[in-house]
């Protein structure tokens, strides 16, 4: 994979290429690596993954022509939101002070406060003003009208949690069609 990603030193890359010119077994393995890399690229670009991303990632996606729908509710407040059929990426910007946090979890709760999902130990930059989370666009397009609450919590070495910020998303379904499922 490092060879395919151009992550090897020049000397190591030369060694790999000499070997690949004589070894079809390793050529077959490389074809498997390429297939995996291509599928991962397609998956990453599909917007269907829930994942913490960077500001540069969002900017680059927009520059390359993707329709990015962003919501940035202030800390402790709520926002009305939806997705359109032609949106490609759905992004939540959660304003937060991360300077004193080492481990941060992102918890997704229903309006009763019941946690439905926890993204544990998300990647953070201490100097960042927000956490950017890509929500699955596939999921959002099929989601019924519902309210979700995102909570950023700092977790210390003993497992004790401290709330860093809470953000409420009132999602309104605007894409017609049967919902197929309901939030509990």
């Amino acid at each position: 994979m490092d060879y395919w990603l151009a992550a090897l030193s020049a000397a190591a890359e030369e060694g790999v290429e000499h070997h690949l010119m004589t070894c079809d077994g390793c050529g077959d393995r490389l074809r498997g690596v390429i297939a995996l890399a291509e599928e991962l690229r397609a998956l990453a670009r599909s917007g269907s993954l829930q994942v913490v991303i960077s500001d540069q990632f969002v900017k680059h996606a927009a520059e390359t022509g993707l329709r990015v729908r962003e919501y940035a509710p202030p800390r402790g407040e709520s926002v009305q939101c939806t997705v359109a059929a032609d949106d490609d990426l759905l992004v939540a910007r959660l304003a937060v002070d991360l300077t004193a946090a080492s481990r941060v979890d992102l918890s997704w709760c229903d309006p009763r406060g019941v946690e439905h999902e926890r993204m544990a130990d998300i990647p953070i930059r201490a100097d960042a003003a927000d956490v950017i989370c890509q929500q699955s666009i596939t999921w959002a397009k099929a989601s019924p009208t519902a309210t979700m609450i995102a909570r950023l919590v700092a977790v210390d070495e003993t497992g004790e949690e401290r709330l860093l910020g809470e953000y409420t998303f009132h999602h309104t379904r605007t894409i017609p069609g049967p919902p197929g499922w309901e939030l509990p």
């Binding site: 990603l5 000499h18 050529g27 991303i53 960077s54």
Partner: protein, 179 residues
């Protein structure tokens, strides 16, 4: 009967215009050249073009006995790949001219690309830890380097490499491959 011949045994036969030996060389080297092309040109069609151009150059060199060390045919092919890719990068016009002259003379069959279960892969990626998923998405979305991903996520470049390596191992296992 030529399948079992070594590269060094094929070379003199090609110098004697043995078409079957030429076909065996194309069958043997074509997929290897294509992999080199995919890695360096990032395009299946460009890789196919590279196969044609490199095979033409190698065959011409063998026919005119310009390959001094026939037992080192693979390094010669690799060197020709490198020079051709450099040429392609220098002049896309020249590429067009070469293809106009020779395109279609050599059309090797590309080996079938392995097909993956994309739904299973999505499940496997979702099962990764948050940092691993973030690194995988940023790496493959636009082939970001480890340094770029490190800068985006606020972790060291070495850490990105470790996380990526671990994630890829997990994905291979999850997809049913040997780690």
């Amino acid at each position: 009967m030529y399948v079992g011949l070594s590269d060094a045994e094929l070379a003199p036969r090609i110098a004697e215009s043995d078409r079957e030996a030429e076909a065996e060389l194309c069958r043997r080297m074509g997929p290897r050249i294509r992999l080199y092309g995919l890695r360096h040109l990032r395009s299946p069609s460009a890789a196919d073009d590279l196969v044609q151009q490199v095979l033409l150059k190698v065959l011409e060199a063998l026919r005119t006995a310009r390959v001094r060390e026939p037992d080192k045919l693979a390094p010669f092919v690799l060197g020709t790949c490198r020079m051709t890719v450099l040429d392609l990068r220098r002049s896309s016009q020249r590429q067009g001219e070469l293809l106009a002259r020779f395109g279609g003379d050599l059309v090797p069959d590309a080996p079938p690309q392995p097909r993956l279960d994309d739904r299973q892969l999505a499940r496997c990626v979702r099962a990764l830890k948050e940092r691993e998923r973030a690194v995988v998405v940023m790496t493959f979305y636009d082939e970001q380097t480890a340094a770029e991903t490190a800068g985006s996520l606020g972790i060291s470049e070495a850490n990105v490499r470790v996380i990526r390596h671990r994630a890829m191992q997990q994905l291979r296992i999850c997809m049913g491959a040997t780690p």
